[in-house]
């Protein structure tokens, strides 16, 4: 399973980013490979329009099955609905590592 977190940094200690479309980094954890990769979302952070849509497209194209981020806007949600991605809302965890633990425990709210 590939899980995407929106984060302000690039590693497990990064703070979750409370924005989806304009989130700073898309950090993807591949559970099978036990491997963490970070993708800059720079192009959408500064997008003039439709950041949510383009971020959703990017997430789908990264092949993730779970997205853990802020509440998605209607257009981003519509885009994601074209895939089989599941959406969860971030809680007040201070790192994405903690956020992942909460997700595994089933403590995150599904969007």
């Amino acid at each position: 399973m590939k899980i995407l977190f929106t984060a302000r940094g690039t590693d497990w200690n990064a703070e979750p980013d409370n924005r989806f479309g304009r989130g700073k980094y898309f950090v993807v954890y591949d559970e099978e490979q036990d491997h963490l990769t970070a993708h800059s979302n720079e192009e959408n952070v500064n997008a003039r329009h439709g950041a949510g849509i383009q971020a959703a497209q990017k997430a789908i194209n990264l092949g993730v099955e779970v997205i853990i981020s802020a509440e998605l806007g209607p257009k981003a949600r519509q885009t994601i609905s074209q895939s089989h991605c599941r959406l969860y809302t971030i809680d007040d965890s201070s790192t994405i590592q903690e956020l992942y633990r909460q997700y595994k425990k089933g403590n995150l709210k599904e969007q």
């Binding site: 003039r48 329009h49 806007g73 209607p74």
Partner: protein, 290 residues
């Protein structure tokens, strides 16, 4: 952190006067944002110091390099907005008509066209005379009002609210139902709708309420100029009840709203009776969002 946005649908219902009064009552517990960037008036009452100004670019405009242009007419043919003018064989772009789609740039065989970012206003982060922070903006004349400047003001205001460890962000929203309003409502926890008992006031209130429903935000109503048409005021009260929304209170027509404005004061500074009324509404509002 909670975000309250004040809107009205129709202009001139007293939205900004009431928001400024709430800003006064909230004092240091809140950051204030003026998202009515097309008619930004909050600064006239709160007297901000315009401490941090930042240019705001949004949208693009095409520019034609005359040295590279071969006058092939391709750009003019594809432009759906009639923004490319030809005078005496020279091709130029009309800055007001250009939508910034960039079709001309992509089709130009000699790369004579480049897109540049259009200056569309400025944002300011200020300390007000009430010693709280106001984030406000000014839309450039004839600029595109896409809601992007509204979003920028809100982003800055949220940052400020977090930095200053405040619990509340109070936003003066935008009139209408188009994208600037959508931008001012996005992410809000509560909407205050200021309306008046006139047929246009009610009509616009209903339209903006339909928009709010799509956001699933709770809304509370204030009826201004209640006595102007008590029958219509009762219609509004009924509407609120039917839609199970909150009723925050009402004002009769009162010239002190204008008089206080003429003095450059918020109405709570000018009129003690109105202050009592507004304080009641403000406390009710605070208890509803927590």
């Amino acid at each position: 952190m909670k975000e309250i946005v004040v809107i009205s649908g129709k202009g001139g219902t007293g939205k900004t006067s009431i928001t400024a009064a709430f800003a006064q009552l909230a004092g240091k517990e809140s950051v204030i944002a003026d998202c009515d960037v097309d008619a930004a008036d909050m600064h006239l009452l709160l007297k901000p110091d315009f401490a941090e100004e930042e240019a705001f670019y949004s949208g693009q405009i095409a520019h034609i390099d005359q040295d590279k242009c071969t006058r092939c007419y391709k750009c003019k043919k594809v432009c759906r907005f009639d923004a490319i003018h030809v005078t005496d064989g020279t091709f130029t772009v009309d800055e007001i008509d250009c939508e910034g789609c960039g079709y001309c740039e992509k089709i130009c065989p000699t790369q004579a066209i480049t897109m540049y970012d259009a200056l569309s206003g400025k944002t300011c982060i200020s300390a007000t005379r009430l010693n709280n922070t106001l984030v406000h903006a000014e839309l450039a004349i004839a600029a595109e009002h896409s809601g992007k400047l509204v979003t920028r003001v809100k982003t800055l205001a949220r940052q400020k609210t977090r930095e200053e460890k405040k619990n509340l962000l109070l936003i003066d929203g935008t009139p209408g139902i188009g994208c600037p309003v959508t931008a001012s409502l996005t992410g809000a926890d509560y909407a205050v709708i200021v309306t008046e008992p006139t047929i246009s006031g009610i009509n616009d209130m209903k339209r903006v309420f339909d928009l709010i429903k799509t956001f699933k935000i709770r809304a509370g109503f204030i009826i201004n100029k209640y006595d102007l048409n008590p029958e219509k005021s009762r219609d509004i009260e009924l509407f609120i009840k039917e839609n199970k929304m909150d009723y925050l209170g009402q004002f009769n027509y009162n010239e002190n709203f204008t008089k206080s404005m003429t003095q450059g004061e918020t109405v709570v500074e000018y009129d003690a009776a109105l202050k009592t009324e507004l304080a009641k509404m403000w406390n009710k509002l605070k208890s509803l969002i927590n």
